[in-house]
């Protein structure tokens, strides 16, 4: 190793250290912005070092410079525009698209490396091609899978699970074709074989995500994020660059942790998700005897009085709140109650949004201070001393049936909403959550149902509080 390349590898490790430090600073909302800046400093260092390395080697052609700069400018411009204009409700789609292009770029690095080495007379060294193949496979699966996930989240592709008879057989065939061709291109350098691997992986990515329902998206996005990280780490093996290996491993770990958290929150094991395909919990479940009966409806005025004279209120937002774009209305109601001396906090279930932490971002955008946003384990003991729990657009995550064995959601961690002294549920109708079962919370004698669209209901509640007790 020459002195120059020795130095550049050291600088790459410095850049990677910036990534670690940046992620470490994200352990607290107060320091997180500094963390983001540290990560970016690491990226600037890595790119500058690479530029120096390329200039020092001096083999790059003028076309090479133009191609590199043009690609970076176009991509950077599109990324900047998307990042500046995206609505917070559309964040899952954006992250999914970023996963897609990250996986795609990693796969391209490996494809190019294979083409270059295969063209050499000596053939391919075995250890190089295993990581190259892993990079191609994981990167391609991530690319097509993430595009499908983004399409589903954006509503371009139906968010309902899409399955067809024999889908699993096709999946197995694709896996067999991909691995068979993979084994072949390791023993014999073959470009055609490589393209078969690429196409099989792309098709596999599509078929992996198509059967997944919209409510399962938090798991899928996290998993694809982990895939992207792993693909980038493999690209680091392929080109022998430690910065890529470390950064990819960090992202892989991050995606892995989030996948585990989301899977636990939805009561699915990771192995069930990866091996068995994603069940969607759509098997019809027999309704409980008497369910649907005994539901008590409430009018805006009565609900407003309950809230205004409570001393402690917990708001339980679910995806219905985000879908109705009602996060600003809920924040306004909460501030009004607080100004009357009511203690207000928010109970956020891990899968309240369409991706990990999504609901927190939506509420932060509506100016809710983050100390009011409580995680499930933190808030659950507090329900017992809560006067009113206000449930907005959340369903399965509040269903006490999860505590009993034998239901579709048994064992799923839930918010202990039923422990509070009274409960108001804002809901458009008695429709089911994605688990397709009745929510026993709604028939609880302590529960009042306020049937309305979340946005309209919250606006009515706010004005009722103002006129009645303001």
């Amino acid at each position: 190793m020459s002195g120059f390349s020795f130095t550049t590898q050291l600088i790459y490790v410095l850049a990677a250290s910036c990534f670690v430090l940046g992620l470490h600073l994200m352990n607290n909302p107060a320091s997180a912005r500094r963390g983001n800046q540290f990560s970016t400093a690491g990226m600037v260092i890595a790119v500058a070092t690479t530029l120096a390395l390329i200039a020092h080697a001096g083999v790059i052609s003028a076309t090479g410079w133009i191609v590199m700069l043009a690609g970076a400018l176009v991509g950077g411009g599109v990324g900047l525009y998307a990042a500046r204009t995206v609505q917070m409700t559309a964040m899952p789609q954006l992250v999914s698209m970023f996963n897609a292009v990250g996986g795609g770029a990693a796969a391209l690095v490996a494809i190019h490396d294979y083409i270059r080495v295969a063209a050499a007379v000596s053939g391919v060294g075995e250890s190089t091609t295993i990581t190259t193949l892993l990079d191609v496979i994981i990167g391609s699966v991530t690319f097509s899978g993430s595009i499908i996930a983004a399409g589903k989240l954006q509503g371009l592709i139906t968010s309902a699970p899409v399955t067809f008879p024999g889908a699993r057989v096709v999946n197995l065939l694709l896996a067999a074709v991909g691995l068979g061709a993979g084994g072949y291109v390791i023993s014999t350098p073959s470009l055609a074989g490589l393209w078969i691997v690429v196409l099989a992986s792309l098709a596999f990515g599509v078929l992996m995500v198509m059967p997944i329902g919209g409510a399962d998206m938090p798991v899928v996005i996290s998993l694809l994020n982990a895939f992207t990280g792993t693909a980038v780490a493999m690209a680091g093996f392929v080109i022998g660059n430690w910065a890529l290996i470390i950064a990819g491993a960090l992202v892989g770990a991050s995606g892995g942790i989030l996948t585990k958290l989301m899977a636990d929150a939805m009561n699915r094991s990771i192995s069930n998700i990866i091996v068995g395909g994603f069940g969607t919990g759509d098997t019809p479940v027999a309704a409980l005897p008497g369910a649907g009966a005994g539901v008590k409806a409430i009018a805006a005025d009565d609900a407003a009085i309950q809230l205004a004279y409570a001393s402690k209120v917990i708001i339980v937002p679910g995806y219905g709140l985000a879908a109705a774009q009602a996060q600003h209305e809920v924040a306004e109601l909460a501030e009004l109650l607080e100004s009357r001396g009511v203690e207000v906090s928010y109970a956020i279930h891990p899968v309240a949004g369409r991706m990990p932490g999504h609901m927190n971002v939506l509420l932060a955008e509506a100016n809710v201070p983050y100390p009011q946003l409580k995680e499930m384990d933190e808030i659950n003991p507090e329900f017992a001393r809560t006067d009113v729990a206000l449930v907005i657009g959340a369903n399965d995550v509040t269903n006490p049936a999860a505590r009993r064995p034998g239901t579709a959601i048994s064992g799923m961690p839930i918010l202990d909403v039923d422990h509070s002294k009274s409960i108001i549920v804002i809901k458009r109708s008695m429709g089911h959550g994605y688990a397709g079962i009745d929510n026993e919370l709604y028939t609880d004698p302590k529960t009042s149902m306020y049937f309305n669209d979340a946005k309209a209901a919250l606006a009515e509640l706010t004005s009722a509080v103002k006129t009645l007790v303001g």
Binding site: A30, V109, F237
Partner: protein, 126 residues
């Protein structure tokens, strides 16, 4: 197995552990910004795209380099900007610009701006 591959593997495995340690301490409230920050970080594959552009001399190579550089820099720039945008929204206290009822917002915002003396005065006045 070559020494280089072994070194790479050791780095990969240790980085995974570091990642697990560091990221398990990120609170749930920041998980979305964490994912977009991760998007930005895996944009490091830009380095790979740049090296392709530097070593290739075929049109296929240039095409691959262009698309890879485009994808990766979208990650780097977009991930960084959108993470910053989200993190800016996380505040400890409500701001005065919030659509708050008239009574609450000034009372909360004024002491912060005017210092401890104003707190006492406001407190007595109201």
């Amino acid at each position: 197995m070559s020494t280089a591959l072994l070194t790479d593997l050791v780095i990969f495995v240790l980085s995974l552990w570091v990642g697990f340690e560091v990221i398990s301490k990120v609170p749930a409230t920041l998980h979305t910004p964490l994912m977009s920050a991760a998007n930005s970080i895996h944009g490091i594959v830009l380095v790979g795209a740049m090296l392709i552009a530097a070593t290739t001399n075929s049109w296929v190579g240039y095409l691959i380099a262009f698309v890879a550089a485009m994808f990766a820099s979208a990650n780097v720039v977009g991930g960084y900007v959108v993470t910053g945008r989200m993190l800016k929204m996380f505040r400890k206290r409500p701001t005065a610009t919030a659509a708050a009822p008239a009574a609450a917002a000034p009372a909360a915002a004024a002491p912060a701006a005017a210092g401890p003396a104003a707190v006492t005065r406001d407190g007595q006045a109201s």
